[in-house]
Amino acid sequence: MTRSDRPKILRAYGDRAGDGMVQLSFTLEMSPSPRAKEAARRFAQAHGLEDILVTCMEACGPEHSYFVVYGRSKHTVDVARIEVPQLDIPELERDEIDKLVMERLGRKIVLVGACTGSDAHTVGIDAILNLKGYAGEKGLEAYKAFEAYNLGAQVENEALLTRARAVGADAILVSQVITQRGCHKENARALVDLLLERRERERFVLLLGGPRIDQRLAVELGFDGGFGPGTLPKHVASFLAMRVFEKRGLKCSA
């Protein structure tokens, strides 16, 4: 995204521009009472809300209440001053990507993918790699210009790397679904550390995917690209193609 010099100030839009209306729902560790209701109001107030309405207070645990609160936020954002690191992905379809890779690279791009560590949730890696794909879009196994190995779940970083070497992979895809206490970051970072230690980081394009992954986090962890919810196989394919081209000194735009 490009920055513009003219500020553009926004506030949440409820019923009219700039009214700042938001809803919050949360739990406080106290049973319902007038005091609890006031506590909820003050909690919302502490978040910058005004004209607060506590619309629901209900017991949801032994000494817990759940609340729904409406209020006007006084805060604003200047969207003109926002910069978001975004993947530069050309909008290409499967046959276009296949054609481009075979023309430019002259061979298939080889990749291995896995859910690493203790993560047993293959839904993400399957959606991107398996023939079946996701949302009507075929996965990378269906691409003529990709040779994809899906190693499945609970793969140790060491095993993933061994396999990547064995098949001569250009790229490694890591999927991390379980995020409890930040374990997705630890697993991902451990792979980068392993590659650095072995002086092999430059050998592979490294991609990270999962429901809590974005480009900013992926780069922070030492990956080349990060893919979050809504990613389609063709997004991964075109990004990979461009990065592999770049590594080979080939033209890396569509």
């Binding site: 739990t27 209900e58 645990g61 399957d126 919810p229």
Partner: protein
């Protein structure tokens, strides 16, 4: 109950084919044992404890006997023989077999009769422990009463069993009838069961015998307070499925997730291993009168829920056939399925109704386990809550038995206390508002729902015909279920499968098999 017209002859044919499929595999099962089965036997006979590195004695014992080449005769033989030879208790015999540096060679063998006699009190004690737990459960249930179906089933998964106990009690007070403690993600592939209470686990909490005891005690407390029996569930799956069945049986769990094929398809556990293990685990589960929950819902997370609907039904027939062979009656066979059709597809609700009604009718006495939408959930919690409401409407109107509640924060994070509360509230509303809707429904004999039900049944029949012709081993090999392909010699845990020797001894299994 609602009714949709399907041809009974087709249902009968499916059952016959599944019986034949299971019989072919049962021949293999009856000729083999596994390290998991033998560890379960050791634990049941009374082998207890772990070494200073946390390795259970049952593991060290069985591994050592296997390394010596004697496991094909059964751990019962090794234990009984050592007891007689060293005039020791069973626990001492187990410790010697496991830890003593040099084991005596070429000593004279006792008679089988003498070994059986030495083991007999231990076998009786094992059965008595299962029976006592079963009776205690039955008495508590009778005293407190059980909720109406569908039972509202929720999950806790903090990683810390003490936090799980707090959350389980909170869920019970909010209206849950069944509380499951999700296991730590890697546990299915551990070839041992961790020991003691655990407070660290990713994606869930380790299944251990002590953790089972803690959660059951917490739910007993909540049950007494609420005047309504609240059930506890865990997972008898993975490499230790039969050991966990034993622990669940003696710690009075009410349900166990237990499937004849899940481990093979979704955890890449060797198929020989899983098929042998599921049999022994179900022998224990049947004696304990625990309800199993099978895992067909998982098929729809990897395969398309409309295209693969018939594979769910076919697998349910197969799971039923294996369960019958392990002594489970219909009231214990909680066959699973799920509401996983793309919600934006036209008439998706009708397709779900058709499948749910079909499953209910084909398995009328079974406590059917109805699983919520997950695959098409996004971060839009408001839409998600509506999606779950329609799921519950299908559940109550088709008379499903056990409903795992959908969570609006599915695909975002483990449910917050508030999320669970709102799921229970919404489900209570739908179940109550539509309580007798099913009794009012007769689906059009040639309408969309009846046609879809027949299509699914016919698809299942065709699949079962081909599985019967090629055997289950080969059908799994070509990806007949869940689009997943597995080889008979692939996957984890094959080294733990061994042929039973001609003089294989397992008096506990004999007793379990002999019971009516």
């Amino acid at each position: 109950m609602a009714h949709v017209e399907v041809e009974q002859a087709l249902v009968d044919r499916c059952r016959k084919l599944s019986s034949e499929i299971a019989d072919e595999v049962q021949g293999f099962i009856d000729a083999h044992t596994t390290t998991g089965v033998e560890r379960t036997v050791a634990r049941a006979l009374g082998v207890e404890g772990v070494d200073d590195r946390g390795t259970p004695l049952a593991n060290t014992l069985v591994d050592r006997v296997q390394a010596r080449g004697d496991l094909g005769r059964g751990i019962s033989w090794a234990l009984g023989e050592a007891m007689l030879h060293t005039k020791s208790t069973l626990q001492e015999a187990a410790e010697r077999l496991a830890y003593e540096r040099a084991l005596p060679e070429n000593r004279p063998e006792p008679s089988v009769g003498a070994v059986r006699e030495a083991l007999a009190p231990h076998v009786q004690a094992a059965l008595a422990r299962i029976d006592a737990a079963r009776r205690a459960r039955e008495e508590t249930r009778a005293a407190l009463g059980m909720a109406d179906n569908p039972w509202k089933y929720v999950i806790v998964a903090t990683g810390n069993i003490h936090d799980d106990a707090v959350q389980a009690k909170a869920a019970a007070r909010s209206g849950a009838d069944v509380v499951a403690v999700i296991r730590a993600t890697a546990q299915s592939l551990l070839d041992y069961v961790p020991h003691g209470a655990t407070t660290e686990g990713y994606g869930g909490t380790f299944a251990t015998q002590e953790n089972f005891r803690i959660i059951r005690a917490a739910l007993d407390e909540a049950s007494r307070e609420l005047g309504r029996y609240v059930m506890a569930t865990n997972y008898s799956s993975g490499l230790c499925m039969s050991e966990i069945a034993w622990m669940g049986a003696v710690e009075r769990l009410d349900m166990l997730l237990n499937d004849s094929m899940y481990g093979i398809l979704f955890r890449d556990i060797n198929m020989r291993r899983t098929l042998v293990d599921q049999y022994f685990s179900r022998r224990i589960i049947g004696r304990a009168r625990i309800i199993i929950n099978t895992g067909e819902d998982n098929y729809l997370t990897t395969a398309d829920a409309v295209e693969a609907a018939h594979t769910v039904l076919a697998s349910q027939f197969i799971n039923e056939a294996f369960a019958h062979r392990a002594g489970l009656d219909d009231a214990l066979i909680g066959l699973g399925h799920a509401y996983e059709i793309d919600p934006w597809r036209e008439d998706s609700f009708l397709l779900e109704l058709a499948q749910a009604q079909l499953v209910r009718q084909i398995f009328p006495a079974h406590p059917i386990k109805w699983m919520p939408p997950t695959k098409h959930k996004t971060g839009d919690i408001f839409q998600s809550h509506v999606h779950d409401a329609l799921f519950s409407l299908v559940g109550v109107s088709t008379g499903q038995s056990i409903e795992l509640l959908g969570m609006f924060s599915e695909a975002i994070h483990n449910p917050l206390m508030m999320d669970r509360h709102l799921a229970l509230k919404a489900t209570r509303y739908v179940f109550n508002a539509a309580k007798h809707l099913g009794e009012e429904i007769r689906f059009q004999p040639d309408g969309r729902i009846a046609r879809r039900a027949r299509e699914v049944l016919t698809g299942a029949l065709d699949l079962l015909e081909s599985v019967r012709a090629e055997t289950l081993w080969s059908a799994i090999g070509r990806g007949a279920f869940a689009d997943v392909k597995r080889e008979p010699t692939g996957g984890k845990g094959l080294h733990g499968v061994l042929p039973r020797a001609r003089d294989y001894l397992n008096p506990l299994l004999e007793q379990l098999e002999a019971a009516p």
